[in-house]
Each structure stands twice: as structure tokens, then as C-alpha cells.
Symmetry: C2
């Protein structure tokens, strides 16, 4: 049985998450029981939502248990199998979390997370990004909450991340004016040159919501009809000042408030003044739309219309630092940890 | 031609609205032209939205013009007529604003606001409250935004106001647990004894959102599924802590922030955590639902199931003080000015 390095949650953050919240543990992979498979993970995913689970607070997901492997999405191949449906060598998506190997039992709740994927036209890692949870998240927010109509303007924050880049491709495929918000000139240039955004605003050039709001107004001369919110804080305040009447805001993340004090929304009365719909969602609760969304996203990737960038940390030991960087926006595109 | 006392907006508030923002003017009613009618107003309505129109700020309605009669809903009878469709003596709803008489021209935009009503089973003043804009506002928020399901809990702030009392009757008619928030023991007792609320919380007993949140939790042991927001500020913060997953919030007013500084929303991330839908609306933009809503509201009033209280100020000179009191919650039920 191979050795299996894992990252456990050792203790919960007080304020900002730090490297010492995590602990590297070397375990043995256990012998397989009947029906089980062993997945050798090629990549696991680092996502902002994991920060929320590190707190022991009421949220939409159970808190990450202390002393256990950090959870999350992963991709790999079947290394050993006692289950005829999963032959050795098959490429799979699973939910193995921050470790090198994972064992999946025949329990239906576990097997539902294990899915053989075709890597002929789509790279394996894309199933953690554009053709995975982040891509479907962008699809749901755009199609089901922003509900764009012809001629409208769509805006997304964290524009060059896994969700933002998928949002851009989906929005442009519908012929909409598509504007991003990102941090720094390099990301903004990448957003317009590579991801197809019509414009991208560098929020780091602005220290107040009013100044950022003015920049948004210049990039969205017709106002904003749909906004996909990944960050919260000052960015949300600035966007609210630019929403058109009957605008829709899909609230997917508030990464700016994940560490430390919650960030208030300065002018909630704008929700009334502009008759906005502001709706939070978690894509894992809408499994019925995944097939349709994955089909569109897979086609966009396979045809080269969605070429999402990845930030790849090498080796499991690099995971905590990469994760902490993700929370500060240091990644550029989908943040992955590569294991082999 | 009779004399016509009017209240004009003399100047715009700086911070809190004050009596000197208004000016009493005595005008003459002009001779009628062909197609016109003269309405002798019995009551005009005072509503919180009028405070927003006193500012010269972008909002859903045009600002109230300076030096002109304050706008708003009214009821009365046809005093003179050069229009066969409106015989003298007919009782009407119109939009005459803060004055004793109004002239309605045959312009379709004006005539659309003039409607003959039946006062056999419904008192004329109710057409400004339960069977008028406030009632339809409650109906839209409950039916179209809160979208209640059997067994759910609905909550409304400003519970004993015109909107809140209609909300209670509509919610109870659907068999829902219905809880109110109001200011002071007298209003809370009235809410449960007369308006049919299952419970009513006195927000004046609480100085922090956390304390108020605890009181809401006790009154809503199953959590809150639908909330009708009339006030904003600390109350909204406290309610947000009690919303169930997939809860709906209809944002109708933020009266707490109408004067002076805008009130922030402390924990917008709860919209995501609880996957809430928060939606602002203005009922005048949804004319298609008025007939259905007015039919239900009229039946509730005619059968005694909705007996909304009125605060009546006597005479046009009393209007400014009554309006400023409304903004501070001094009214008890629908605030009207009675003219004859």
C-alpha cells in the first residue's frame, strides 16, 4: 500500500488564516474492501469556500473537522479497483481533498462524487475549473440569477479566476457586453486580451468605493444589469452605485470578508431604489442544472473558446501557502495543487 | 370657484425633514375646461415614500418639484364635472396630493389615476390603505417575492402600519405563522389582539441587533422564511440573523435611513450563507397584479377580516406635523389627513 501524504486542519484561524492552521500527515492507504477503489490524485482544487469551512460557524456547509484531511474536489486516475465500474487507469473526478490518494467506498453518497471523465479534448485539470464546480457556478449565476437579456451589460469581480473566466466565455457566447473587475494591470490585460472581456477594471487603482464606482461607470456606460459577486466589501458598494433598475446580483462569494471582521454593505437602500434582486446561491444545491451547464462549458473548452488559466502549486507540501495566497488574490486563474 | 388650500414643498431637507420644508398656500380652483372634473378631496394619504421624493436625488420616482403641491394618493367626490363618465357626487380615488381640491384633466395619464369606487361595504378612506397602494404593496411582497409555502413563517416590520396590517391579514388567510415587529407595547398588543399576528416583537426593548435577533428567534422558533422589510437598519441586521436557508426578503422601505446618513447592512455575507433572495420592488411598476390583489383585499375588508387602524390628522394645516410623525413611527396604522 502506498504512503499517502495529507494536509489536515490542525486548528481554526483566529482572524486571518495562517500556515500553522494546517499540518502535514503521512498515512498509509488501507487495503481495499469489496466495491472500493483507490484513486491516485493528479490534482486537487483550492477554492475560496474552504476558508469559510475552517471556521466553526453556522454556514451552508458543515465546518471542516479538526484533525482530518481538508476536503475538496480532486481529479486523478483509478490506481487500484475492487469495483468493476471503475477500471484501473480510468480518469476520474472525485472529492478526495488535500491528499495524494483517496479511497472511495461503494456507499452511494461517495460513489455519486466519483465520475469517469473523457480527457480526449478536455484536459483532466479542467474538470476542477472551467468544466467543473467553478464553471457550473458561473453558469448558474449568469443564466439562472442574472438572467441576461439581449443588449445588457454583465459584470463580474475576481474576473480572471476560475469562475470569472468561465463567466466571461458564457456571457460573450450570449453576445452581452461583459466587463470584469480584477486586481492589477497584468490580470486586467489578460482579461481583455485572452478571456474576451470587453473591459476590465483594476480595483487596486482605487481606494474608495466612489472612485471605483466612477471607473465602473466609464467601463459600463449603459449601467450594469447583471453582476456576479465574488468579493464583497468596497467592490460591492461601488457596483451597487452602478446597477440599473431591475438589475440582478448573483452572490457567490464575499472573499474580502472571509478573514476577520465582516464587511458591511454601505447603502442597502439602493436595493429598493433600483428594485434589485440580490440572491445568494451554492451550486451544489442545484444538481439538476449540472448536465446542461457542463455540456456548454465542455464545448467552450474543447473548441478553444474558453482557455482558462491555471495557477499550479507543485506537490502537496505547497498547498497551505498556495491556499493562503488564493485568499489574497495572489493566484492567477484556477488554483490547483499538482501531485504527480 | 372654491378656495383651495395646498401644501407645497418650499425647500429640501438637509438631514432630517422639518416643518419649515413645507409651506401652506391658498390658491383658487380654476374654471373647468371641457372633459375636466373637480374633485373635492375627503382624505389624502401620507406615506413614507414621500420622504424620498423630498430629496433631489436619483431614485425610482422623480423628485418632488419645489414650489409645487406635494404629490400623493387621495380620495374624494366629484364636486363639478364636465366629463360624463364622472358624475357629480361619485366617490373616487385619485392622486391629488396635499390639497383640498384637485382638477383632473382628460389627459389619459391623469384619467388613469381617477377611478370611481364603491363605498357600500368598504369605507372611502380604505382605498388609500388596505384596499389601495399599501394593501397591494403587502400583497405583492407576500405573494410575488416572499412566495410562502405551507408551514412557513412570515415576518413584517412596521407591523401595525397600513402595509403591515394588510400583510398580516393576507398571510393569515394563507395559514402561515405571521409575526410582526413594531415599536412599543401598545402597538404590539394591537398587532396580536386586533390584526391577527401570532406574535409581535417590540423593537424598542432592544438596543442592539443581537438582542433583537434573540427576541425574533423566540417568536419564530422555526426561523424566518419570508420577511417584508419596511424599516432597514438594526431591524434588518437582526432579521438577517434569523433567516432560514432559501429565505426571501421583500424590500419595500428603509424608513430608518430616510433622514440623514444611510444605514449600512452589517453582514451581507449572510445573503450567501443562507442563499437568500433579497428583492426591492415598487408596486406601481406591477399594475398587472392590482386587480387580483384589490379583489382579495376588498373581500378581506368587506368581511371584517382586515380591520386596519387609521391615524387621522384633521385639516390640511395638520399635514406636515403628521407626516414628520409618520417618519418617526408616531402614527398608529394608516396615516391620513381628513379634509371635511
Amino acid at each position: 500500500m502506498p504512503q499517502n501524504k495529507q494536509i489536515h486542519l490542525a486548528n481554526r484561524p483566529v482572524g486571518e488564516a495562517v500556515a500553522s492552521n494546517f499540518k502535514l500527515v503521512v498515512a498509509e492507504t488501507p487495503p481495499l474492501k469489496d466495491g472500493e477503489v483507490l484513486v491516485r490524485q493528479h490534482y486537487f482544487s483550492l477554492d475560496p469556500y474552504m476558508r469559510g469551512r475552517m471556521n466553526d460557524a453556522k454556514s451552508y456547509a458543515l465546518p471542516q473537522a479538526l484533525g482530518e484531511t481538508m476536503g475538496g474536489g480532486s481529479v486523478g486516475e483509478i490506481a487500484e479497483s475492487r469495483n468493476a465500474a471503475y477500471p484501473v487507469g480510468a480518469k476520474v473526478v472525485c472529492a478526495g481533498g488535500w491528499q495524494e490518494y483517496c479511497v472511495v467506498s461503494p456507499d452511494p453518497a461517495q460513489m455519486r462524487m466519483l465520475r469517469i471523465v473523457d480527457t480526449t479534448h478536455i484536459p483532466l485539470s479542467a474538470y476542477l475549473g472551467a468544466v467543473g464546480m467553478p464553471g457550473v457556478t458561473a453558469w448558474y449565476g449568469l443564466v439562472k440569477i442574472c438572467e441576461p437579456k439581449a443588449g445588457e451589460t454583465m459584470l463580474v469581480s475576481a474576473a480572471t479566476g476560475a469562475v470569472g473566466s468561465a463567466f466571461a466565455a458564457l456571457s460573450k457566447a450570449r453576445g452581452l457586453r461583459t466587463v470584469g473587475i480584477a486586481g492589477g494591470p497584468e490580470k486586467c490585460k489578460y482579461a481583455t486580451d485572452e478571456l474576451g472581456f470587453d473591459a476590465c477594471i483594476d480595483y487596486k487603482l482605487h481606494s474608495t468605493a466612489g472612485s471605483l464606482a466612477k471607473a465602473i461607470r466609464e467601463a459600463c456606460p449603459q449601467g450594469v444589469d447583471g453582476y456576479f459577486e465574488n468579493v464583497g466589501g468596497m467592490v460591492l458598494d461601488a457596483v451597487l452605485m452602478n446597477m440599473n433598475a431591475f438589475g440582478r446580483i448573483a452572490v457567490c462569494g464575499m472573499i474580502a470578508g472571509y478573514d476577520g471582521a465582516p464587511l458591511p454593505l454601505s447603502h442597502p437602500a439602493l436595493i429598493l431604489v433600483n428594485r434589485l434582486k440580490v440572491q445568494g446561491f451554492i451550486v451544489g444545491e442545484h444538481m439538476e442544472i449540472w448536465p446542461e451547464a457542463l455540456k456548454e462549458l465542455g464545448t467552450l473548452v474543447a473548441t478553444g473558446k474558453l482557455r482558462a488559466r491555471e495557477s499550479i502549486a507543485q506537490g502537496i507540501e505547497a498547498a497551505p501557502e498556495a491556499f493562503l495566497g488564493l485568499l489574497k488574490g495572489k493566484n492567477f486563474g484556477k488554483q490547483l495543487v499538482k501531485l504527480i
